[in-house]
Symmetry: D3
Subunit: 137 residues, 6 copies
Amino acid sequence: MKRVAVFRKEHFNAAHRLFNPAWDDRKNAEVFGKCSYPNYHGHNYEVVVKVTGTPDPQTGFVMDMKLLSDLIRVHVIEEFDHKNLNLDTPFFREMNPTAENIVMVIYDLLRSRIDPALGLRVRLYETERNFAEYPEE
Amino acid sequence: MKRVAVFRKEHFNAAHRLFNPAWDDRKNAEVFGKCSYPNYHGHNYEVVVKVTGTPDPQTGFVMDMKLLSDLIRVHVIEEFDHKNLNLDTPFFREMNPTAENIVMVIYDLLRSRIDPALGLRVRLYETERNFAEYPEE
Amino acid sequence: MKRVAVFRKEHFNAAHRLFNPAWDDRKNAEVFGKCSYPNYHGHNYEVVVKVTGTPDPQTGFVMDMKLLSDLIRVHVIEEFDHKNLNLDTPFFREMNPTAENIVMVIYDLLRSRIDPALGLRVRLYETERNFAEYPEE
Amino acid sequence: MKRVAVFRKEHFNAAHRLFNPAWDDRKNAEVFGKCSYPNYHGHNYEVVVKVTGTPDPQTGFVMDMKLLSDLIRVHVIEEFDHKNLNLDTPFFREMNPTAENIVMVIYDLLRSRIDPALGLRVRLYETERNFAEYPEE
Amino acid sequence: MKRVAVFRKEHFNAAHRLFNPAWDDRKNAEVFGKCSYPNYHGHNYEVVVKVTGTPDPQTGFVMDMKLLSDLIRVHVIEEFDHKNLNLDTPFFREMNPTAENIVMVIYDLLRSRIDPALGLRVRLYETERNFAEYPEE
Amino acid sequence: MKRVAVFRKEHFNAAHRLFNPAWDDRKNAEVFGKCSYPNYHGHNYEVVVKVTGTPDPQTGFVMDMKLLSDLIRVHVIEEFDHKNLNLDTPFFREMNPTAENIVMVIYDLLRSRIDPALGLRVRLYETERNFAEYPEE
């Protein structure tokens, strides 16, 4: 059975800051630098979702890209777009919204909604120069 | 033996439409949406070919990129560029020209022409936001 | 009064071919090359619309980008997306769908729908390497 | 005297929100949509600064790009990077941080620091699809 | 008569260094920094050529893009590609190969070969972040 | 233990040429074409470094991206930026500076400086269309 990967890219804009509430301001500034400024900064995030499986002989699709795009939009983009990741979402109350943690949250939001026979991997671009991927290859 | 991957990107412009001749127009519209419009639409396709192997100590090349580029141009680009994938190529008479199916066809066109000691993987961008890769990683 | 330009980028995928019905096949092939292949080819077109004017002091907007995006989507993208420019649109029955002609058609579709006090210019990317702009700067 | 333009691109990441304090929440939501969410969102902003003049025959430079880059970094990037544009900068207390207004502020920050014999224009990308330029061409 | 602009992008890879032979090494290092290192460095240059005119009613072309691409390739790319701009071309014996000077040389190479009724402007990217354009807009 | 990949992109500009000193000029020209021109050419190289590991629960980082960026800048960028790879670095005296060989050198420069518990892979773009990765996936 020939397995192919398909990819869909979507994007959202959000504010965040990095800090550990168990640490004082000085330690936070030392570890997180500008990323811990108290009033938040933000990014144009790009999400690339990779789904692997066998193309359906009737359609030639591993997965309908319209359906995949809709899943990402409803469960990821609507959750994060134009939001403050620390304040407006339930995920980063006790966990820093680093690219690493955000990409794992996105993976979990999608994994339960995609056929378990299909493989899933998510890449998140925080900027063109900083990005993260889960699970590791 | 240290194995390295090299990549070469080429592009072609083509028309296509998605539909299953075993289905009526309504079913095709339902499944394929705008992609099944009868008079075709098109894309600027980008092909990225990945070849893995051990660099030759005389040249420092896993494979001569000029040779790889020529192979892709003769066997892929000339076959597909400025063509209608459904009507002008032999590959999509009975198979939908989805990104998944096109990338598998391109892989087959190249696999037999590249040294079997070298690994091969192909990625095809239909748009910047929709792409496919074969074989899956 | 300080005048600022704002830009909005949208995209559509379409098929087309270039040919002059007054010429025979040989002349068409000579002038248009691969672009005259009879069964069409296609592109991922990118449209960049530039609107110039004075920002409204209440909003800070030259023009509401959501409104501009909606205008482009309703009057340009829905007209051209996933279409065959020669067969499915009324504009290229007697005029070749070159980047030059398409960009002038898009300009006309938008000009009448945007406040005459605002300046308008349109750029159309046929590929990353071939594009056109109207009116000339 | 031959005049040439040179361009330098820099970037910063910032949070912002759009709203007019003279309006109630409903009016703000109506006009600014998601951009008025109270806890801010953010962007990876790209700034492109264009300087025009005659190349110095000794250097071949219209302006030393290292010097231009330093000016942008000291007076623009350090002012805005990893900041909340509404709260952490003096410019958007009474003026909405739209792309239009930000690009005019950046122009003013640079204009007084660049030789008046040189032309200046600034483009600001809020996203790849929304951008602004001042002064208009 | 409606005037439209068309653009064609090509690229070349070249080595260069910046220095003024009338100055000593210290002055050169002071003014040109790393760009004056004696053994050269290099860039992937991108050239964007803009031609403006009235589309021919028979073809819909301001200028045949194939012809424009051939002109650029014969007179610019073959002259500069895989060359050392200081040593292997006649243009930079007495003039520094800055982006400003290279773009003016490219303009001159093309201007005499393109119909004088057509407007011409050239942009040269030395990197994604440093570029030049001639003549100024 | 959940393993995530993080990526950091940096760039440098350098000159190089490809040739094998054991071969005569004709053989070098035959094998390396334009890349063997004696006076060097150059590229804008992009380096993408991938580090895999388990995010630290205190920071949410697989590795501090500031630290990773500093490591790449000190040990790779300062070594190669604005240099002639053949003449100015110790690595390519007896080995051709192909993308394959450069990427393996960069890997070695970083591997010893990054925690052995973390995975490492490096991708090097010589141009947008030619790139290499080590170790192969």
